[in-house]
Symmetry: C2
Subunit: 339 residues, 2 copies
DNA sequence: GGTAGTTGTTGAAATGTTTCAGTCGGCGTA
DNA sequence: TACGCCGACTGAAACATTTCAACAACTACC
C-alpha cells in the first residue's frame, strides 16, 4: 500500500523507450510527435500513474497556471459571487484559482500577498482593505498583474467597480418617488470608499429634490454586518416619532437584513412602518422574509471582467490599464412597496 | 519602471559577499549563521527586493506549504464557515490554504483534485460530491493525505462529520415536546447521506414517541437551496388543512429560510401557523426575520479538526485514520416558540 | 605547539521539468 | 547518385532552490 516516490518523466521515458524530450513533447506539443509514439507514451503514463510535477514545470517554464483572489470578507456572500465570476473566467482560460480571505485585516492580507508573490502566480485580483496600500504597489512593481476589485486605485492599476454614487442616487430617488420625506442612511465606517460614495449619491439626489439636508439622517455603523444593522435599527427606533425616518437606505444588504430583522422583531411592519433599501443584491436579499429592495451589483460580471483584465495584463504586451465602471440597477421588491 | 527578472539567491549571495548555501541557511536555519553575516544577507535581500521562489523551494525540498479545501457548494455559507476553521488551523501551522469549489459537479471536482495532485499539496480536505468516488481513493493512494469533511467514507480515510441521525432526533423531539403531532420533513435528494440520516433520526424519534408514521410527512426537494425551500412551502400550503403539518423540519437552513419566506409571504404566521426547524445554524438563521431554530453544527470546529487530522497524517508516521464525529446541538429560537 | 573540538561557511549535487540546437534516417528531386 | 529537405526524436543545459560533506578558522586544553 505504501508507494515509492512518484514516477517522473524519466520513468515514463524509460518505460516507453523514448527520451525525456519526447515525453515532454507529448504533454506540451502533441502535434509534433508521431501518433504511434504518442500512444505508447500515453500508455506508459497511465500504467505508471504519472502526474506532472507542477513545481518543476513552473520553475523551468517560468509561468504559473494559477490566479488568486484575495477577498475582503468571507462572511459576505457578495464576495463569493464575485469569486464565482472569477472562477468561471479562470476555468475558461484553463487556470486554477487560489482564493484567500483577509477578513478585513491588513496584516493577514499582507501575509497572503507575500505568499502569492512567492508562488509567482500569474495574476492577483484583490478587494483590498486599503486600496492605496503601498504593499500593493510593490507587488505590482514586481511584475505581477494586480487588479483591484470593487474598489478603485490610481491609473497604475486596473480596477473593476460599480458606480457607487449613482447607486446611492437611484436608491434614494426610489424612496423619494415612493413619497418618503425623512430617510436614514445606515452604514460605516466612513473611511470605506463605498460608504462615502453611496452616501454622497444619496445626498446629491436629496438636494436635487429640494429636500432639507437634516431630513436625511446619517446612522453610522462600525462595520457592514448584520449585527451592526440590528444595532442601527435600535437607534432608529429610539428616535422621537416626529423625527424618525420612514425609510432607510443601507450601505449593504447585510446591514439591511439586520435592520429588517430588528424592525420586524420589535413589531414594526416593513414596508408600512419602515421601508428598506439594501445594496449588492445578494441572494439572501430576495430570500428575506420581506424580500429586500436592493441596488444590484453585477457580482459575477464584476469578477469575470476583473479576471479578463488580469489575463490581458499578464499576456498582452500592449496592455493598458483600465478602470472599468459598471452601472448598478435598482431591484424593487416588497421592502419598499407602496401601501 | 519595467523590471528585469526577479533577483535570485545567487544575486543575494553576490551582493552580500557570501555563498549560495549561506543565503539558504539564513532563510532556513538562521540559528547556524553568525549574526553579522545574517544581518548582511538580510540587508542584501531587502535591498534587492528578493522573494524566494516557492516552486524551486518545493521542487528541491519535496514538501509543499499549502493545504487545499475542495468545497461542495460555494453558495452555502455553511461551507465558508468550515473553510474559515480550516484557514485558522492552517494559519497556525504556517501553511497557505487553497480553496476550490466544485459546485456539486463531480467533473469539476475531479479537475480540481487533479490540479492539486500536480501541485503536490501537503493535504486535501474535501466535502465530496460522492464520498465513495474512486478518484478520491487514487489521490489518497498516491500518498497525499485526504480528509473527508462533513461526510464519512470507509476506514481508509480520516473524516470529520456530525452525527446526523442524532441531529434529526433532537430537532423532531423538540417539535414533539412543543406539542406538534403532524410534522413535515423537507429536503432532498435522498441520495445525499445527510438527508437520509437526518430523516432517519426524525423517524426514529417519531416512532419512539408512538406517533403514527403517516403523520411525519416527507416533502422531497431537488436540492438544498432557498428556492427549493420556497417550492416545498408551496406544496405544504397546498395540503388540505386537516392533514397539513403544523411544523417543518428542514434538511438545512437554506431550505428552512425558503420555507419561512414562503410561509410569511403567503400570510401565515411563524411559529403560530407553522413552526420551523433548520439544520446547520448558519449566521443567516439567527438573522432571519423570524430567527430560526436550528440544529447547530460546530462549523469552524469541524474545519479545524479536519485540518488537524490532515496535518497529522502528513507529518506523523504513526498516524492512524480517525473518523471524528461531533454531536450537534439544538438552538431554539423564535421560529418554534410556543405561543 | 600539537590535538581535538566547535563554529561558520563553501561548493557541488540533486530535484523534475522544458526548451532548443542537433542528429538521424528516409524521401523526392535533379 | 548526390543533394537537400523534412519529420521525428534526442541530449544536455537551464531554472532557483536545498542539502550535505568537506573545509577553514578559532578556541581550549594539555
Amino acid at each position: 500500500m505504501v508507494v515509492g516516490k512518484a514516477p517522473s518523466v524519466k520513468d515514463v521515458a524509460a518505460a516507453a523507450g523514448v527520451s525525456l524530450g519526447t515525453v515532454s513533447n507529448v504533454m506540451n506539443r502533441p502535434e509534433m510527435v508521431a501518433t504511434a509514439t504518442r500512444e505508447r507514451v500515453e500508455r506508459a503514463m497511465a500504467d505508471l500513474g504519472f502526474v506532472r510535477n507542477e513545481s518543476a514545470r513552473q520553475l523551468r517554464a517560468g509561468t504559473s497556471r494559477t490566479l488568486a483572489y484575495v477577498m475582503l470578507d468571507g462572511s459576505n456572500p457578495f464576495f463569493h459571487d464575485v469569486a464565482q465570476g472569477i472562477e468561471l473566467a479562470a476555468e475558461d482560460a484553463d487556470l486554477s484559482l487560489f482564493i484567500c480571505n483577509s477578513n478585513g485585516r491588513a496584516a493577514r492580507e499582507e501575509v497572503h500577498l507575500d505568499r502569492l508573490v512567492q508562488q509567482r502566480v500569474q495574476g492577483i485580483l484583490i478587494t483590498p482593505v486599503d486600496p492605496d496600500s503601498a504593499f500593493l504597489g510593490e507587488v505590482s512593481r514586481r511584475g505581477i498583474p494586480v487588479v483591484v476589485v470593487d474598489r478603485v486605485r490610481d491609473s497604475n492599476f486596473c480596477s473593476v467597480a460599480v458606480d457607487d454614487v449613482y447607486g446611492g442616487r437611484i436608491a434614494v430617488e426610489h424612496l423619494i418617488e415612493n413619497g418618503h420625506t425623512r430617510v436614514a442612511f445606515a452604514g460605516g465606517p466612513e473611511a470605506l470608499g463605498q460608504v462615502r460614495e453611496r452616501l454622497q449619491g444619496a445626498r446629491e439626489v436629496w438636494a436635487d429634490n429640494g429636500l432639507p439636508p437634516e431630513d436625511l439622517v446619517f446612522l453610522p455603523t462600525d462595520a457592514l454586518t448584520v449585527a451592526d444593522g440590528r444595532e442601527a435599527g435600535e437607534r432608529l427606533a429610539g428616535l422621537p416619532v416626529r423625527r424618525r425616518p420612514t425609510a432607510a437606505f443601507c450601505a449593504n444588504d447585510l446591514v439591511a437584513l439586520g435592520l429588517l430583522q430588528q424592525a420586524i422583531g420589535s413589531g414594526r411592519r416593513v414596508p408600512e412602518d419602515l421601508a428598506i433599501v439594501g445594496f449588492d443584491d445578494i441572494e439572501f436579499a430576495a430570500a428575506a422574509a420581506v424580500p429586500l429592495t436592493s441596488v444590484r451589483q453585477p457580482r459575477q460580471e464584476l469578477g469575470r471582467a476583473a479576471a479578463q483584465l488580469v489575463l490581458d495584463e499578464a499576456t498582452n504586451p500592449a496592455h493598458v490599464h483600465e478602470q472599468a465602471i459598471f452601472t448598478p440597477e435598482l431591484i424593487a421588491r416588497a421592502s419598499t412597496a407602496v401601501h
